[in-house]
C-alpha cells in the first residue's frame, strides 16, 4: 500500500508542483494519475520513488514511512518515459542491472533476465543494444527490467507515449494483462484519459498539483466532479455550455431545457454550466423542444460513428452570462449512416438523464446543499 499524507513539493523557483496532497493506493491496485501537462504527475511519481524530497508531508509504502529512505531502498521500480535503457549495455545486461546492484551472482542474474525476457517475448533480442530495438521492444525491455527485480510497486511515467498510435493500443492491453498476472501495485502516469480509463482500477485526475477527483473509471467518466474533470475525461470533449436558471427551467445556448432535479434548489437567474457528452446528444433534422438549433460546421469520421460540430447562433434575447458573443459550439456523436451534411441545419437534443449541471464549478448532486444558499 502506498499512502501520501499532506505531500507538498516546492521547487527552488517557487513552483509548487504538488500541493498538500493526500492519497491512498491499495495493494495490487492499478492506479492511474491523469492530468494535463505540468500538473505535477511526474513530480508526484518521482516523490514516491524517492527521486524528489518532499517539502512537506510523508510517503509510506507498505505501512512504513519511507520519506527519508533513499530511492534504492524503497523497493519500487520505475519505468521512465524515455525508458532510460542504458545504451551501452545489451538487453540482458539492462534487464539484469537491478540484480547486479543487488549482487546476485552473474549466472543467476543472467538466467533470471532471460526468463523475464522470455515472458515478454524478448528472448530473441537478448544480445541487442537498445539502439537496435524498435520503440515497442524498448518499452518491453524497460518493463522487463522493472519486473526482474520483483519490486513491491511499479511506477510508470507515461510509458506508452513514445509509441505510435497502433502500438500504443496493443501495449495497453498487454500491460493490463501483465499487471493482472503479477498483481503488483502499479502507479501509472498519463495525460491520455483513454489510457487511464482503459487500464486503471482507479484514476486520480490532477490539476495544478492537487487531486481534483479520485474514483473508478466509470465514476470519473459518468460523474466528473468538476467542469475541469468533465472536460478532461472522455474521448471527445464534453459539451460544457453556460446557462442560467430561468422560469423553472434552464436556458442554455438558446434552448429551453427542463430543470434537472439536482438543480431544483437554485434561485432564479443563477448561472450554471450545463454538461452533456457528445455521445448523449441526439441529432434530428427537424425542430424539437429542448434541443439546440445549429448548423453543421465540422464533420469528423470516428470509424463507426461521426463527430458532428454544430455552431449554435447567439440567442436573439439577452445572451446568458458568459456565453461567447458569436454563439456556442455543440458536439454530437452520431452513429454510422446517421450523419448530417456539412452546413445543414439540425437540432441537437441532449439526453437529460445524462446531463450534468455545475454550479460554482461543482457538480450538483441530488442534495444540492451548497447550491441552496
Amino acid at each position: 500500500m502506498i499512502s501520501l499524507h499532506g505531500l507538498t513539493k516546492e521547487f527552488p523557483g517557487g513552483v509548487r508542483a504538488i500541493d498538500a496532497l493526500d492519497l491512498e493506493i491499495a495493494d495490487g491496485e492499478f492506479f492511474a494519475l491523469l492530468g494535463p501537462s505540468g500538473c505535477g504527475k511526474t513530480t508526484l511519481l518521482r516523490t514516491i520513488a524517492g527521486l524528489e524530497t518532499p517539502t512537506r508531508g510523508r510517503v509510506a509504502i507498505g505501512g512504513v514511512d519511507v520519506t527519508a529512505t533513499p530511492p534504492g531502498r524503497r523497493d519500487v521500480a520505475m519505468v521512465f518515459q524515455d525508458y532510460a535503457l542504458f545504451p551501452h549495455m545489451d538487453v540482458t545486461d539492462n534487464i539484469a542491472y537491478p540484480l547486479r546492484i543487488r549482487k546476485v551472482p552473474r549466472a543467476e542474474r543472467r538466467a533470471r533476465a532471460a526468463e523475464t525476457a522470455a515472458r515478454l517475448s524478448l528472448a530473441e533480442l537478448l544480445a541487442r543494444r537498445p539502439g537496435q530495438l524498435s520503440g515497442g521492444q524498448q518499452q518491453r525491455v524497460a518493463l522487463a527490467r522493472a519486473i526482474a527485480c520483483h519490486p513491491r510497486a511499479f511506477l510508470f511515467d507515461e510509458p506508452l507515449s513514445n509509441l505510435d498510435a497502433r502500438l500504443r493500443l496493443e501495449a495497453r492491453t498487454f500491460l493490463k494483462r501483465l499487471q493482472r498476472d503479477l498483481a503488483v501495485t502499479t502507479v501509472f502516469v498519463t495525460h491520455d484519459q483513454g489510457e487511464a480509463l482503459a487500464l486503471a482500477d482507479r484514476v486520480a485526475v490532477m490539476s495544478g498539483g492537487r487531486i481534483m477527483q479520485v474514483g473508478t473509471p466509470a465514476e470519473v467518466f459518468q460523474r466528473p466532479a468538476s467542469t475541469f474533470v468533465a472536460s478532461f475525461i472522455g474521448s471527445t470533449p464534453m459539451n460544457l455550455l453556460p446557462g442560467e436558471v430561468r422560469g423553472g427551467g434552464l436556458r442554455v445556448a438558446g434552448a429551453r431545457l427542463p430543470l434537472p432535479q439536482e438543480a431544483a434548489g437554485l434561485p432564479e437567474g443563477a448561472g450554471v454550466v450545463y454538461g452533456v457528452r457528445p455521445e448523449y446528444v441526439d441529432l434530428s433534422p427537424a425542430p424539437r423542444p429542448g434541443a439546440f438549433a445549429g448548423r453543421v460546421a465540422v464533420l469528423e469520421n470516428l470509424g463507426t460513428a461521426h463527430l458532428v460540430t454544430l455552431e449554435v447562433p447567439a440567442e436573439d434575447g439577452e445572451p446568458p452570462a458568459g456565453s461567447e458573443p458569436g454563439g456556442a459550439t455543440v458536439q454530437a456523436v452520431v452513429p454510422e449512416g446517421g450523419e448530417p451534411a456539412l452546413g445543414e441545419a439540425v437540432w441537437a437534443a441532449p439526453r437529460h438523464e445524462r446531463a450534468l449541471v455545475y454550479h460554482d464549478d461543482v457538480l450538483l448532486t441530488r442534495a444540492p446543499d451548497r447550491a441552496a444558499r
Partner: protein, 307 residues
C-alpha cells in the same frame, strides 16, 4: 532537471571534486599565486637579484605597460589570436564541419583524419615541418609555387604564423562545430529551405543563432590556448627583429634568456589579464544569448523510435 539526479548529495559531490581540486590547488593555483607574487619582485634567476630579491611593487607592471616592446607583443598576440584562432581556426573549422556534416564515408574520414593529425602531432615536430615548408631556399612551398627565394617567414612572419596556427588548431573547432551542427534540428534548416532561403541565409537565420553558445565556448578556449601558444618561437624565434614576438615568446625571452623572472612573471600576469578581457567579452556575449535562446521544448519529447 533536478538539483541532484544522481543522489550524490553535497558530500558525495565534494568527495568526487576533491581529488581534482587538490591537484589543481597544489600544482596550479599555488604556483600561479607564487608567480603572481614573483611579479612584484625584481627576482632574477642568477646574479645579485637571485640571492636577495627585493619587492619592487607594481614597478614591473608599470615598466611593462610603458614598454613599447611589451605593447608591440600584445598587439602581435592579439593579431595572432584574432587571425589564427578567431578567423582561421574557427572559420575554417566551421566550414569543414558544415560541408562534411551529412557526409559519411571515406572523404569525410580522410579530411577529418588529416585535420586531426595536424592537431595531435607534437609541436616541435610540427614546427620543423613548417620551417621546411616555408624555407627560403629549399622550401616545399616555393618549389610548388615556383617562387624561389620568397622569404615567407621574413616578409610575412605574422601571416605565416597565423596560417600555421590555423593549420595546427583547426581540428578542435572542427570537432566542436561538428557536434554543434548535430544539435541543429534538420527541420529548422528545411523550413528555411522551403521558404527559399539561400545557404547563407540558412546559416545566418538558423544555424548561427542556434549554435552561438558553442561558438563562444569554442572561441573562449581556442583564444586562451592561442594566447599562450609557444610554438611560434620554434618557427620564427620571435623574429625577424621581434616582428613575430608574441607575448609567450616575449615572456620566454625576458624570463629565460634575460633571466628577469620577476618581469617575466609580471608579464605572465598581464597576459592573464588580457585573457580575462577576452573571456569577459565572450561571457558577456554568452549571457546575452542566455536571454533569448531558451530552446523551445516542443510540448512533449518527440522521440517515437522507429524500428
Amino acid at each position: 532537471m533536478t538539483s541532484d539526479p544522481s543522489g550524490l548529495g553535497r558530500g558525495g559531490a565534494a568527495a568526487l571534486v576533491l581529488p581534482a581540486l587538490v591537484l589543481i590547488g597544489v600544482f596550479l593555483v599555488f604556483p600561479a599565486l607564487w608567480t603572481i607574487y614573483l611579479g612584484l619582485t625584481d627576482y632574477r634567476l642568477t646574479g645579485l637579484a637571485a640571492a636577495d630579491p627585493q619587492v619592487v611593487g607594481p614597478a614591473n607592471y608599470l615598466d611593462a605597460l610603458g614598454d613599447e616592446r611589451f605593447l608591440g607583443s600584445t598587439w602581435l598576440s592579439v593579431q595572432y589570436v584574432l587571425g589564427s584562432a578567431v578567423i582561421g581556426q574557427a572559420c575554417l573549422g566551421f566550414a569543414i564541419a558544415w560541408l562534411v556534416r551529412d557526409r559519411r564515408g571515406p572523404l569525410r574520414r580522410v579530411v577529418e583524419g588529416v585535420v586531426l593529425l595536424s592537431w595531435i602531432l607534437p609541436g616541435s615536430v610540427v614546427a620543423y615541418l613548417w620551417i621546411a615548408l616555408l624555407d627560403r631556399d629549399g622550401g616545399t612551398l616555393n618549389a610548388l609555387l615556383n617562387t624561389p627565394g620568397a622569404a615567407w617567414l621574413l616578409d610575412h612572419p605574422m601571416l605565416s604564423l597565423v596560417v600555421f596556427n590555423t593549420w595546427r588548431g583547426t581540428a578542435f573547432s572542427m570537432m566542436l562545430y561538428a557536434a554543434a551542427l548535430e544539435s541543429v534540428p534538420p527541420s529548422h534548416l528545411e523550413t528555411a529551405r522551403l521558404a527559399g532561403a539561400s545557404a547563407f541565409q540558412q546559416l545566418r537565420d538558423v544555424v548561427l543563432p542556434r549554435i552561438r553558445g558553442h561558438v563562444l565556448t569554442n572561441l573562449l578556449l581556442i583564444s586562451l590556448w592561442t594566447f599562450n601558444d609557444f610554438t611560434p618561437f620554434l618557427i620564427t624565434a620571435g623574429g625577424p627583429e621581434g616582428a613575430s614576438e608574441t607575448l609567450p615568446v616575449y615572456v620566454y625571452i625576458v624570463a629565460l634568456r634575460d633571466g628577469e623572472l620577476g618581469v617575466g612573471a609580471a608579464v605572465s600576469f598581464l597576459i592573464l589579464a588580457v585573457n580575462l578581457v577576452f573571456a569577459l567579452v565572450y561571457l558577456r556575449l554568452l549571457r546575452a544569448r542566455g536571454r533569448d535562446a531558451d530552446v523551445p521544448a516542443p510540448a512533449r519529447a518527440a522521440t517515437r523510435t522507429a524500428a
